[in-house]
């Protein structure tokens, strides 16, 4: 019964999401794309977090995907849509290669290294003038799908759905056991036959692929990028805040957080154009202090408490 309700709810939300362009104007669709992009990044960040690894490198893989896609079109004459697939794969391959080095690190050493990688990518793009366009960035000859706002929306939605699907797979398959065991106790995990490095590598490659894909979709949808926009720290900070607010170690938590904070951020941008980042920072601090399980965790606790109170009568 409970399962059925949640499937119906998911189907309704999916139907509304797919049909949105029919009744939304250009501006709301643009906001929706922004929210969906952040949502996909928040989910992908959480997927790796389930193994206990905190990445600060979301913007790095996102920007890498953006540049890989843009340069594949500009320098390689690749089809724009194909370039998104290429960029996702490129980010995955890079993560695979880098993973061999950095997935041996743990806790803040891992986090700091991912943050440094992002900076390195940005500086490389900044300085490879001839190839990457340097600080001015790159301008594509045209926006994908001729800039049709419905098509752009569906493209972004597609990227998001792939990410949700991957996250759902992580929750329902043995990845869930492997990642949670690694997060809780690596020694126990090893003793039970979990090849820790292998599962960390899978998680890192898959999440980096998603992040690269979303970066590529973003650049193809706007038609230009610069090192500062592609590797914008917001693409690390916002998804992190969203996942924390919604509740980590789940798919639904980062989704809820992205909707709330994504829409709030649009409003905040208009209210305090230069100070809205402070609000995210305050949200992260408050959530960590008072609500470490996030909104979804709090809701679950309340439901459980309600049930126990009911059962007690």
């Amino acid at each position: 019964m409970k399962l059925k309700t949640s499937y119906i709810a998911a189907a309704v939300i999916a139907a509304v999401a797919v049909a949105s362009p029919a009744f939304l104007g250009a501006y709301p669709l643009n906001v929706a794309r922004s929210v969906m992009t952040y949502m996909a990044l928040a989910i992908s960040w959480d997927m790796l977090l389930r193994s206990g690894q905190i990445s600060f490198g979301i913007a790095g893989l996102f920007g890498l995907g953006a540049y890989a896609s843009a340069l594949a079109v500009l320098r390689g004459g690749m089809d724009p849509f194909l370039s998104i697939v290429f960029a996702a794969a490129f980010a995955g391959v890079m993560a695979f290669a880098l993973g061999f080095a950095i997935l041996r690190l743990r806790a803040m050493y891992f986090s700091i290294t991912t943050l440094a990688l992002m900076e390195i990518f940005r500086i490389v793009m900044h300085n490879l003038d001839d190839f990457s366009g340097g600080p001015e960035g790159v301008v594509l000859p045209e926006v994908i799908f001729g800039g049709n706002s419905s098509a752009l929306y569906w493209l972004c939605l597609g990227g998001l759905l792939i990410t949700i699907g991957a996250s759902w797979f992580f929750e329902k398959s043995k990845m869930h056991l492997a990642l949670t065991a690694i997060r809780n106790d690596e020694t126990s995990a090893r003793s039970s036959g979990v090849d820790i490095f292998k599962y960390l590598l899978i998680a890192f490659v898959v999440t980096s692929t998603m992040q690269g894909m979303m970066g590529a979709i973003q650049v193809q949808s706007y038609g230009f990028t610069t090192p500062e926009t592609a590797f914008d720290g917001n693409f690390t900070l916002l998804p992190l805040a969203m996942a924390l607010l919604g509740g980590v170690h789940s798919t639904i938590g980062p989704m809820a957080g992205a909707v709330l904070l994504g829409i709030a951020s649009e409003w905040l941008k208009l209210q305090i154009p230069y100070g809205h980042l402070i609000v995210y920072g305050v949200i992260i601090i408050l959530v960590i202090l008072f609500m470490p399980q996030g909104l979804v965790g709090m809701a679950r606790r309340m439901i459980r408490a309600g049930r126990e109170a009911g059962a007690g009568k």
Binding site: S173, K174, L177, A178, T180, A181, R183, N184, D185, T187, S188, A189, R190, S191, S192, G193, V194, D195, I196, H249
Partner: protein
């Protein structure tokens, strides 16, 4: 048949030799006691054979195959399982999932098969309500869960590192009976580290005694417990 053999196994932590030149073997179906005073190197020895630590020198063979430097997860797949002196529950997994992971990752079973296997093992250990969080378990239940998790690997060699610690005498008896039955049924070699000598006497056919990392005596408990060197190791060189 010899299941597990070590030859000259040594582990030094920058100068401190925790395990020194230990050679031993475990036979199929045997329950072996590993005793010695605190700091004798018993846990380090288990860390070495289960692959949690890598030895400084020496050799470890499992059924004749060299596994001296094999990673822990591979040894788990080959058939070496263990529990820990300090409990290691996976607190974000349900009890049944805690037990399942050995079946999934060591035996390559599907989630469905692994769940079934876990339920069967837990039933055998009389551990119920498997949908609970580990935080809701008593210490006896956590110990049972950890034994169940080790058994889910379907090991041929199993090490129990002080599983009786913290249990009362009834609970201890219950665990002893279970270990004996399982070892017999599955023809497993079981290594038991224990400070309670009653447990060692009742459970094991043979014991090895470690002191300051060295193997100082070996044989049935009754013989070893009369060995002057063993008595001295336990009581200190006061006399």
């Amino acid at each position: 048949m010899s299941k597990l053999t070590t030859t000259g196994l040594t582990k030094a932590f920058s100068g401190l030799v925790a395990v020194n030149d230990v050679s031993f073997n475990m036979e199929e179906g045997e329950i072996l006691g590993i005793i010695g005073p605190n700091g004798a190197g018993k846990t380090t020895f288990i860390h070495l054979v289960s692959g949690i630590l890598m030895p400084t020198s020496g050799r470890i063979e499992f059924k004749g195959k060299d596994i001296t430097y094999a990673p822990a997860h591979e040894r788990s797949r080959l058939g070496i399982a263990r529990t820990y002196q300090l409990i290691h529950p996976l607190e974000n997994l349900k009890v049944v999932e805690n037990v399942m992971i050995g079946s999934v990752f060591s035996r390559g079973k599907s989630l469905k098969e692994a769940r079934k296997a876990a339920e069967a093992i837990c039933a055998e250990l009389e551990l119920d309500r498997l949908q609970r969080d580990t935080a809701q378990l008593s210490i006896l239940e956590i110990k049972k869960m950890e034994i169940a998790r080790a058994l889910a690997n379907e090991p041929e060699v199993l090490f129990l590192d002080e599983v009786m610690a913290g249990l009362n005498s009834d609970e201890t008896k219950q665990v002893i009976a279970t270990v004996q039955r399982i070892a017999r049924e599955r023809r497993m070699a079981v290594g038991v580290v224990e400070h309670v000598m009653g447990v060692i006497r009742e459970l094991t056919q043979r014991v090895i005694v470690l002191e300051a990392g060295e193997l100082i005596a070996e044989g049935p408990y009754e013989t070893v417990s009369k060995n002057p060197r063993v008595i001295e190791a336990y009581l200190g060189g006061a006399a």
